[in-house]
């Protein structure tokens, strides 16, 4: 039973971290990018490639994963967001990020292969460690550190305050002389780096697998919608709740109905509290 809880927390941490990445991009651009789940996938795949394939030490692998994630975040902004946001059609960003997500998934699939490959051990540890295994506590630690770090970043630093200003009212921020375009690019690069870090830390849990992206995009989004869009604490709560629910459901009913239960949770929360547990109620735009 303890094992179920621990592995649930670890998966939940992965979802929570993905939800945080969603939040970073959403705060400045009001875009929920379909590519969000693919950033951790890239972090995992390139981390594994750098360590196992090229034989680099773990810190260089970490650097590779984070750098590729950040690069992909930047690329997403340049290719799929920048030109589309200039137009006012609200659906276009969904299409363009979906296109980028599909391309990157297929490209990685062609290059890396379609089978999941093992992710190397980061810290020397025996495989019989059981509950104390690093594949469980690395993602959990990362998700908590990431949430705390983001909160500190938002409340203590100048750039963080600019992010908050933009998320509250982009036009007003622009009128006050904030270079909103530059802040948005910065947020995408930051999201990419955090996503790459997530994928790297959770690599031993998920393996380096090209099709991880869509699953994470969906589950991270469910965690975010349950916790409340825009709230970092909500993302943590939603992620852990979803992860625990997933593993408990597999423990009691078998692993076949994981997705069904996750979506069931989403539907129940959306019906009872459409803005999520900690989200703010949206004013209806007219």
């Amino acid at each position: 039973m303890l094992f179920v809880i621990v592995s649930g927390l670890a998966t939940g941490a992965l979802f929570a971290a993905t939800a945080l990445v969603y939040n970073v991009m959403f705060s400045t651009s009001k875009v929920l990018s379909v590519t969000t789940g693919h950033i951790p996938m890239l972090g995992g795949v390139f981390g594994a490639y750098a360590i196992s394939g090229l034989g680099l030490p773990w810190w260089l692998g970490l650097f590779t994963g984070v750098a590729v994630g950040a690069l992909f975040g930047w690329l997403t902004d340049v290719v799929a967001i920048r030109r589309v946001l200039a137009r006012s059609d609200e659906h276009l960003w969904l299409l363009s990020t979906l296109a980028v997500a599909t391309m990157i998934q297929q490209a990685v699939g062609l290059w890396w292969g379609t089978e999941p490959r093992p992710f190397p051990r980061l810290i020397p540890q025996d495989f019989t460690a059981g509950l104390a295994d690093q594949k469980f506590w690395l993602p959990v630690a990362l998700a908590v550190v990431m949430a705390v770090g983001l909160e500190l970043f938002y409340s203590r630093t100048m750039y963080g305050k600019l992010f908050v200003a933009m998320s509250e009212d982009a036009f007003a921020a622009r009128a006050r002389g904030v270079s909103t375009d530059r802040i948005r690019v910065a947020s995408y690069v930051l999201a990419g780096a955090l996503g790459g870090l997530t994928g790297f830390a959770a690599g031993q849990l998920t393996f380096a697998y090209f099709a991880l992206g869509m699953t994470l995009t969906l589950n991270g989004f469910i965690a975010l919608a349950v916790g409340g869009l825009g709230s970092n604490t909500g993302a943590l709560i939603g992620g852990f709740a979803l992860g625990l629910l997933n593993t408990f459901a597999s423990y009691f009913f078998g692993g076949e109905y994981q997705q069904t239960i996750a979506v069931g949770l989403l539907m129940v929360v959306l019906l009872v509290r459409p803005e999520g547990l900690l989200g703010s109620r949206n004013v209806r735009p007219v």
């Binding site: 299409l95 363009s96 296109a99 869509m214 969906l218 076949e256 539907m267 735009p285």
Partner: protein, 331 residues
Amino acid sequence: MDTKRFAVSVVFAIAALTLPLWAGDQYQLHLATLIAAYWVLIGGLNLVIGYSGQLSIGHVGLLSIGAYAFAILAGKAGVHPALAVAGAGALCGFAGLVLGLPSLRLPGFYFAMATMAVSLIVGEFVLAQGELTGGGIGLAVPGFPAPFDTPAGFYYLVAAAAAVVTWLTWNVARRMQGRGLIAIRDSVVTAQAVGVPVFRAKLVAFLFSGVAAGVGGALFASLQSYITPDTFHFELSMFFFVCIIIGGRGSILGPFIGVVVLTALPELVSPLAKLGNFFYGLLLLLVVLVVPEGIGRLFEVLAERLRPRKLESVPVRPDLPRLARAIREGR
């Protein structure tokens, strides 16, 4: 209808009717049947994506429900195939209703994610209910009785279904319902303000697309003659979606050209087949960035760019004598 368009439709109809006679080999006929089966689904989906602007990226879930319903009804239960097609359509219509009731209330991205989740859920169920669906091994699907048991006969059957779907969507699109759906796509608030029953209109369109997906799935399964969960991978969903978007939203001809080109192109140019989804993604990105109106309207857009409409200049000429008189009279 103007004569030019009428002539084109007649030529197309004759070409479609005589296709089994001039098709080079069995494989080309198979491709044509496949296009028609896809079109049964895409024609219905077009009302949802192209007209009402609800981005459903998980229609492959409904397709697979239809396919499995047909395979189980006609193959295992021994129901007559025609009845099984009707059953598959009815079941998928019901599934569309159940899916649409909660999810159509959600805003764009939420709806897309919900439909994507449903396609994953259906895959999970198919694998979990192995006794009914054959699990990962799959299920053999029976064909249709004579005269539809030959490739040519089956082609006519599927083409007829595709024609019926086209006719139905065309009827919806050009009348009040279709206008209402377009209004919903362009601005929900405006549509509400002018009295379009937003939720009901979306739900009806989604229900119709569900029935079409069920019938399309049944025909698709019978054409493939063996289905496994891998037949209904998520890429197929992307394919339907991309066909409509690149063809152009708010038209019927555009998505049709899209499905014909996108089905035939990877077969003719083999390197594209290897790239598969990458190619679809690239096309989607190009269309979104360069011609958001869709390739179907490419020529109109190009013409607009090359020959910008001259703005009529309406000079204002004040009636000077009258003005002078008014000033002189001190008014």
